[in-house]
């Protein structure tokens, strides 16, 4: 294997994981577009994320996490978005829903799995509830495969390979959403 080969492979590996199926094209796009991509990523967050933050601030729990994050870690429809730290599937925000809601015509599975993700802005860990949306064929957009703290099926509540639509009326998987339950006391033990 040539040195060039290995270098390209090393740099592509992390990207493939984070940007998933579109990784190769995304990488190509990044190379070609250069600064343009940075501009897109710096766009303000979707109103959904803001609305939800204000919902949570009604409670006496911890304040809502800061979401004004620049770059892909602040873009809910990007695999690098901080809350997507263990999503293996399609992001609902690219499928007609949002990072916290299901696309029209689907149903949110009641059971799911829960883990923690670290918000890069305040460096705090948040409890994230990953819910699958069910009842339509797989969305096929914004595929991500991140597995931080993910575990094999013998710990089902920490596994993202399982079709969690098993708990819904229809077991046909469409996409995945990531919602904040609250501030974690500590990061999940698997990290």
């Amino acid at each position: 294997m040539s040195r060039l080969d290995r270098w390209m492979e090393n740099s592509s590996r992390a990207l493939a994981r984070r940007s998933g199926r579109r990784g190769f094209l995304a990488r190509l796009g990044r190379v070609i577009a250069g600064g343009t991509v940075t501009g897109v990523a710096a766009l303000p967050l979707l109103p959904v994320a803001r609305g939800q933050a204000s919902d949570e601030s009604h409670g006496s729990r911890a304040a809502a996490p800061p979401e004004d994050i620049q770059g892909p870690e602040g873009d809910p429809n990007h695999c690098d978005y901080w809350r997507n730290c263990a999503i293996d599937g399609f992001l609902c925000g690219c499928c007609g829903g949002s990072s916290t809601s299901c696309p029209p015509g689907t149903e949110m599975s009641p059971v799911t799995w829960i883990g923690t993700c670290r918000n890069p802005l305040d460096k705090k860990d948040y409890l994230i509830w990953y819910n699958d949306c069910c009842g339509r064929n797989p969305c096929g957009r914004c595929f991500c495969n991140r597995n931080e703290g993910e575990r094999p099926v013998y710990h089902p509540y920490r596994n993202n390979d399982i079709n969690w639509c098993a708990g819904a009326e229809s077991q046909v998987y469409n996409c995945s959403a990531a919602m904040i339950i609250g501030l974690a006391v500590e990061g999940q033990p698997e990290k």
């Binding site: 409670g59 006496s60 059971v111 799995w113 829960i114 923690t116 509830w129 339950i181 974690a184």
Partner: protein, 138 residues
């Protein structure tokens, strides 16, 4: 809306948990930890309010089960508890908290790490049958 209600639920039961356990002298910090451990390791299936779902029984039943002969052992041997990635001490704390929060009862005496360590070493392969036996009184 779903999220708002979820947030309120969390907030609500955090407060209730503090009230119920404060009387037993359990530090608020421990309650917070137990709640965190519940959310991270149990709520995926039992849900935030312990209500369960189509396929998962509600945790409100735990008070009734605990009161039955063998009920105390049962709760420590259910695989969801026994196999959780919590050490014995924290699992004991979650069960004590859960009984207070969802089961409307108090573990008296509270579960200890030693007791949990013994119970979880014998996890059920058929918790539903064990539950039926418990309820039938044998």
């Amino acid at each position: 809306m779903r999220l708002l209600s979820a947030a309120l639920l969390v907030t609500g039961f955090a407060a209730a948990g503090v009230q119920a356990l404060a009387a037993d002298g359990v530090a608020a910090r421990d309650v917070k930890m137990a709640q965190h451990d519940y959310l991270l390791n149990c709520a995926a299936c039992h849900l935030l309010g312990g209500q369960g779902s189509r396929t998962v029984p509600p945790l409100a039943d735990t008070g009734r089960l605990f009161a039955l002969p063998g009920g105390r052992e049962y709760l420590g041997r259910v695989p969801g508890a026994a196999h959780s990635p919590l050490d014995d001490k924290r699992l004991a704390a979650v069960l004590n908290w859960m009984l207070s929060r969802f089961g409307d009862t108090t573990a008296d005496p509270p579960y200890t790490a030693g007791e949990i360590g013994r119970l979880r070493a014998q996890p059920y392969l058929d918790p539903l049958a064990a539950r039926r036996r418990l309820l039938a009184g044998h």
